[in-house]
Amino acid sequence: MASNRIVLVAGALLAAVVAVTAAAPWLKTPVLLALANGLAVCGVIVLIRAGQVSFGHAMFASLAGYGVAFMGRAWQLDALLLIALGTLGAALAGALIGLFMVRYRGIFFGMLNLAFSMVLFSVLGKFGHVTGGTDGLRFDRPTFAGQTLERAGFETALLALALVLALAAGWVVMRYFASANGQALAAIKTNETRLEYLGISAKRVFWGGYVLSATLCGLGGSVFALTQGLVTPEMGYWVRSGEIVFIAILGGSGHALGAFIGAFVFEFVKLYAAALLTGAWQMVLGLVLIVMVFVAPTGIFGLLSRRLAGAGASR
């Protein structure tokens, strides 16, 4: 899709979000959850670029979320600072874990990520006296940019911030994809050996992508934690990781916009299934995805691209 069309679609989404949440303020929470999810999905699409999929990336969201909760409880830091620190923690974890990870490809990469995430999940669930166990950790609503806000005001402020972060993250990801490192990352999928024979360290390039993916998941986890005021081990469960990949494919893994479109569709099907279909949202989305894999494997964004046939193919 041509870049001006992208801006148009993104702008339309943004306008829709603002209008909808102004008209129905109770929708702020699901929108925030969708944005948090979308951020994490951006992280996963970076890895999909390299042809790899992680079934454990919810662990970075979880780490950041728990970081936010700990620091919120211990030091009553401002929300902005909490997000920054939570994300930083996830980035550092990603940098460290990435050192091991980048030597693996394919199903082994997926498995090792899953294994790490389940180790974290088990630790968070069992060491209750530190982590709150399976009930998780609650923390009080922090100040926002120095202001003490009531629930409604806080949510609006957080929503505004999340929208800014979403736009920024989307821009960062697409810019990264177009850069020399991002293009080399994409080449890992098709011919990693050739990269080595060009003198490019595929491992180093992949590590960079991994750190970016962990950071984005951490950002999503921080926003999620602030939205809920509660973190639980479920945030890092393998099913959560699977859902993130699910949304990536549903929305379209080729573009950051697909990540957010997918996240919104996911969240709103969940919401309405609770009301209309006795909560069977998993069944609905599961069937939708199965159909999409056969009919439109490039996801909703791919479909949109074809419809709005801009210049150049959607890749």
Binding site: Y176, S179, A180, T190, T193, L195, E196, Y197, G199, I200
Partner: protein
């Protein structure tokens, strides 16, 4: 001894019971166009795999312009100025022809910092010139995987050429290409290498190609260089005729 570009001393490698390289001593001078012939299994590919870092020799040394590169990784050796192309062309199938070259160029050039788009991070003019040199400019925006075999081979070489190598090692550049296209392909290749002043080694099965494009010929038999010199001379050597050409 004047500065050899590539030298090996006592290079040896055994696979199980097979002697793939038998104490090879070898010198390549800058500007030479060396053709390498030999039957399958004679050790030609083993030799270039050792020289490009894909294999480690059991014994012996490899020197590139006087520097010891024995045992270094393909990446390190590439960075020292050795470009390589493959029997089965190794390109980035889901990228366009131009993007493949831009990515290759980014290995040796980086401008504009971390965020600069690829096309601005490298000297795009040089990339486009290379495309023209290898007659790929008309397919610049096509996916690499959509190219016919001959052009993919040229792309393979182009990607290595963009690294500004001193030495280019090509593994069967004309294999898989139809007979009437072979000469055209070689002509374009050799002209490009001459223009960029790149010394070359190419493994080849087609004797006509060897006669026409090589300045020197080395014949491999059972892991050793059985004959080495001017192509016409080597091609008349009875040992070579018996073991290599008569195949």
């Amino acid at each position: 001894m004047s500065a050899a570009l590539l030298s090996t001393r006592g290079l040896s490698l055994k696979f199980g019971g097979v002697v793939a390289a038998d104490a090879i001593d070898f010198d390549l001078m800058p500007g030479e166009r060396l053709a390498v012939v030999g039957q399958n299994g004679a050790g030609k590919t083993t030799f270039i795999n050792i020289c490009t870092g894909y294999l480690k020799a059991d014994a012996g040394t490899v020197l590139l312009a006087g520097t010891d590169i024995t045992g270094q990784s393909p990446r390190a050796i590439t960075r020292r100025g050795v470009g390589r192309s493959f029997q089965l062309p190794q390109v980035f199938g889901e990228h366009t022809v131009r993007e493949c070259l831009l990515i290759a160029a980014s290995a040796v050039q980086r401008r504009g910092g971390f965020w600069a788009p690829l096309a601005q991070a490298v000297d795009a003019a040089e990339v486009d010139a290379t495309l023209e040199l290898l007659q790929l400019h008309e397919r610049a925006h096509d996916l690499a995987a959509s190219l016919p075999e001959g052009q993919r081979k040229l792309l393979d070489v182009a990607m290595a050429l963009v690294l500004r190598p001193k030495l280019m090692i090509m593994d069967e550049p004309t294999s898989g290409v139809s007979t009437d296209e072979k000469h055209g392909l070689m002509a374009v290749l050799m002209k490009a290498l001459d223009e960029r002043q790149v010394t070359s080694i190419f493994v080849e099965h087609d004797i006509d190609i060897v006669r026409r494009y090589a300045t020197r010929l080395a014949a491999w038999i059972a892991g050793r260089i059985a004959a080495d010199g001017a192509p016409e001379q080597v091609l008349r050597d009875p040992v070579v005729v018996k073991n290599v050409i008569g195949e």
